[in-house]
Amino acid sequence: MELDHDLKGDVLVITPTESRIDAAVAIQFKDEMRTLTQVAVARVVLDLRCVDFVDSSGLGAIVGAMKQLGGRARLELASLTPNVAKVFRLTRMDTVFMIHDSADHALQAAASHG
C-alpha cells in the first residue's frame, strides 16, 4: 500500500497511489497512516482521487486512521470517486468526515479560515 504525502504549510496531504483500499490492505493502510501522521500538523487531507474501490474493511481503516490521530489533527477527505462516495453515503460516514471536492479545495478552505 503506497501513500504519497506532501506537507503544504500546516496541512499534510496523503494520496494513496493504489486503486483499492480493501480487506487485503486495510491493516497496512492504517499502519502507514499512523507512521505518516506522526508529524505535527493541524490537518491531514486524505486525497482519494486514485482510489476507485473501498470496502467496509477499508472504510474501517480510514475511520481508524482518524481515531488514531486523537486530538492532534483533523482527518479530512478529498476527491471521492463515485463508487467510493456511494459507500460513504450508504454507511452515513459522509456525515462524520469533512469531504472536499479536491485537495486544492481543502487547502483553499484552510487559507480562508486562516
Partner: protein
C-alpha cells in the same frame, strides 16, 4: 478463480460461475474478474460499482466469519445477468450464520464521540441497502446466500 461458463443465449442474459479462494487476496482477484465480466457484458460503471461493493461485503464476511481461523476454503459464486440486474448465488462450507439466520439490520451508531466511532459492522446494512430478495439457508453443511442487485441503467 474459476472459468466463466456462458451458457445462456438470451439477449442480455448470461451466467458465470466463479470459484473464489477465501482469502482477502482471493476476494480481490474475484472482484476484479467479476468487474471485467460485467464490463464486457455492457453493465455501466455505476452498476458495476454497486455489484462490486455488495459481493465484496458478502465474500469478506465469509472469509472473516464462516472460514474464520480455518484453512482458506473455496467460495462458489454464480452470477446471472437478467434484464433488471444481477442475480447472485454464493455458497461456502464454512461455519453457519449465528442462530442459522442473517443478522438483524443494525446501522452502526455514528452519534458518538469520535474515539468511539465504529471501524466495522457496516457490511450487512450495505448489502441490505443494495439488494433485493436476500435469502440465506444452511443445508447439508453448506451456506447458501442468494440475492438480486437491481441495476439503475
Amino acid at each position: 478463480m474459476g472459468e466463466g461458463l456462458a451458457d445462456s443465449p438470451g439477449r442480455t442474459a448470461w451466467r458465470h460461475v466463479l470459484t473464489v479462494t477465501a482469502t482477502p487476496h482471493g476476494v480481490r482477484a474475484a472482484l476484479i474478474h467479476m468487474n471485467g465480466l460485467l464490463c464486457a457484458g455492457g453493465v455501466t460503471r455505476d452498476d458495476r460499482g454497486t455489484c462490486e461493493t455488495v459481493v465484496a461485503e458478502v465474500l469478506n464476511n465469509i472469509v472473516e466469519h464462516a472460514y474464520a481461523g480455518t484453512t482458506a476454503g473455496d467460495v462458489g459464486v454464480v452470477l446471472a445477468r437478467d434484464d433488471r440486474g444481477l442475480r447472485v448465488e454464493v455458497t461456502d462450507d464454512g461455519a453457519a450464520m449465528p442462530n442459522g439466520r442473517l443478522p438483524e439490520p443494525r446501522p452502526a451508531p455514528l452519534d458518538v464521540a469520535r474515539g468511539d466511532l465504529p471501524e466495522g459492522g457496516f457490511g450487512w446494512s450495505v448489502i441490505r441497502d443494495l439488494t433485493t430478495g436476500l435469502e440465506y439457508r444452511r443445508a447439508d453443511g453448506i451456506n447458501h446466500l442468494r440475492f438480486h442487485v437491481p441495476f439503475t441503467a
